[in-house]
């Protein structure tokens, strides 16, 4: 999109996203468009990673942003940054969709192939800085394999921690500590306060 302002990089735009979200709460369409442009690649990318189906991901992304539009007034800055807020909404909706497909017995047929090719040029290089992606990749690499596997199964495959423990034949306490320690490792590596 040509509207992207190169001076507002995601890491530094928390204050901007805050202000935008307050304007979205007053049903400011322009602010909503800017909020969308600053978060869309992260939201769509996460939803696509969980759902793997571009069409369903588009629908779910649309639902996420319509929820942003309707519930921006309910955003509580004390509970986290606007980015974490919208990513939490997105993850929740994607996981709900995966679970409803699973319960309808459709996951095998539609998710069987389990691969989505994302051409490099679709990655939002303008919004997500390459050095940030590199840093995240390095931090993910710094986890132990069992920690990374737990987070992958729970966060991207939409499994509950009980299902993760069944899948990995490990007890619940072990799975919970792997998840917790994995996230703590990431948090420290990424310098999240």
């Amino acid at each position: 999109m040509t509207t992207f302002d190169p001076t507002s990089k995601l890491r530094g735009v928390t204050a901007d996203l805050d202000a935008l979200l307050r304007r979205v709460a007053r049903q400011d369409v322009e602010a909503f468009a800017t909020f969308y442009d600053n978060t869309r690649a992260r939201v769509f990318g996460l939803v696509l990673r969980v759902l793997r189906d571009p069409g369903y991901s588009e629908e779910t992304t649309q639902e996420v942003y319509l929820q942003v539009w309707r519930s921006a007034a309910g955003y509580d800055p004390a509970a986290g940054t606007p980015l974490a807020w919208v990513m939490t909404l997105a993850h929740r909706r994607a996981v709900d969709r995966v679970r409803s497909e699973q319960s309808a017995g459709q996951r095998e047929s539609r998710y069987g192939a389990a691969t989505v090719e994302i051409p490099a040029d679709r990655v939002a290089e303008a919004v997500i800085q390459l050095d940030e992606q590199r840093q995240v990749a390095q931090c993910l690499d710094s986890l132990t394999d069992p920690q990374r596997e737990c987070i992958r199964l729970a966060y991207y495959e939409g499994l509950t921690y009980v299902q993760v423990s069944e899948r990995l034949s490990a007890n619940l306490a072990t799975i919970k500590s792997r998840m917790r320690d994995g996230i703590r490792g990431l948090r420290k590596c990424l310098g999240v306060s």
Partner: protein, 235 residues
């Protein structure tokens, strides 16, 4: 999970949505009764997990299709953008049943709708039942026919396409309602949507005088980018 320590071990799976809804409800109930310090520690853990995963989302970033932005802005701006989808077989049957009734009605006014098959009127039935219902039909140059049954009073129409060839890969058919303010998109049909017989409801005719069709890139366009290849006058 009634002990505070046990509760805290659930903060990470809770923050990652790695629990069924029933467990989340249980945790919420326990948190409401837990000591403030435990609830605060839980909330802090959840916050930290979610901030961390927000950072991690850089690694899965992917651009959504451009039309999603247009659709969202149109939706929040109060305008209506309608995705045309093929109706169920049942809907199609109703359309043709009522269309048949209409044909009878031409010769024997008033008796046609006695055979209306379902008690709860669908959008299509309401259109067919409108006193000012009209039908326009035309051949699509590349084959097949398009028919619109519409009512100004209902401000809606039903489009039926028969034996229309699907659009080429990477393109869609886009419907436009031409009114005083120029063309307004009435939705798109991709290859999957164009069945041998396709029915779609046009819920907002406005002051449009023509329903026109163009070929557009996948996902549709905000305004026609190719010449109209078929048009039906809505008069």
């Amino acid at each position: 999970m009634t002990e505070p320590d046990d509760l805290l071990t659930l903060a990470t799976p809770y923050a990652l949505h790695a629990m069924p809804q029933s467990d989340i409800d249980d945790v919420d109930r326990l948190l409401a009764q837990a000591p403030t310090s435990v609830a605060a520690a839980f909330a802090e853990e959840v916050r930290a997990v979610r901030e961390t995963m927000a950072m991690v989302s850089a690694s899965t970033a992917a651009e959504p299709p451009g039309h999603l932005r247009d659709r969202l802005l149109a939706a929040v701006d109060g305008r209506t953008v309608v995705e045309l989808r093929p109706r169920s077989t049942r809907g199609r049957t109703i359309v043709f049943a009522v269309a048949a009734a209409l044909a009878i009605g031409v010769g024997a006014a008033g008796i046609g709708f006695a055979i209306r098959p379902v008690p709860k009127p669908t959008a299509a039935e309401q259109i067919f039942a409108a006193p000012d219902v009209r039908t326009v039909s035309g051949d699509i140059p590349t084959g097949g026919t398009a028919t619109v049954v519409f009512s100004r009073e209902r401000n809606a129409g039903v489009l039926v396409m028969n034996n229309v060839a699907p659009p080429k890969p990477g393109t869609v058919y886009q419907m436009w309602l031409f009114g005083a303010n120029g063309p307004e998109s009435a939705g798109t049909m991709d290859t999957a949507a164009v069945a041998p017989s396709t029915t779609a409801v046009l819920p907002d005719l406005g002051d449009s005088k023509t329903l026109a069709f163009t070929v557009e890139p996948s996902g549709g366009s905000t305004a026609p980018t190719t010449p109209v290849f078929a048009a039906l006058p809505l008069v």
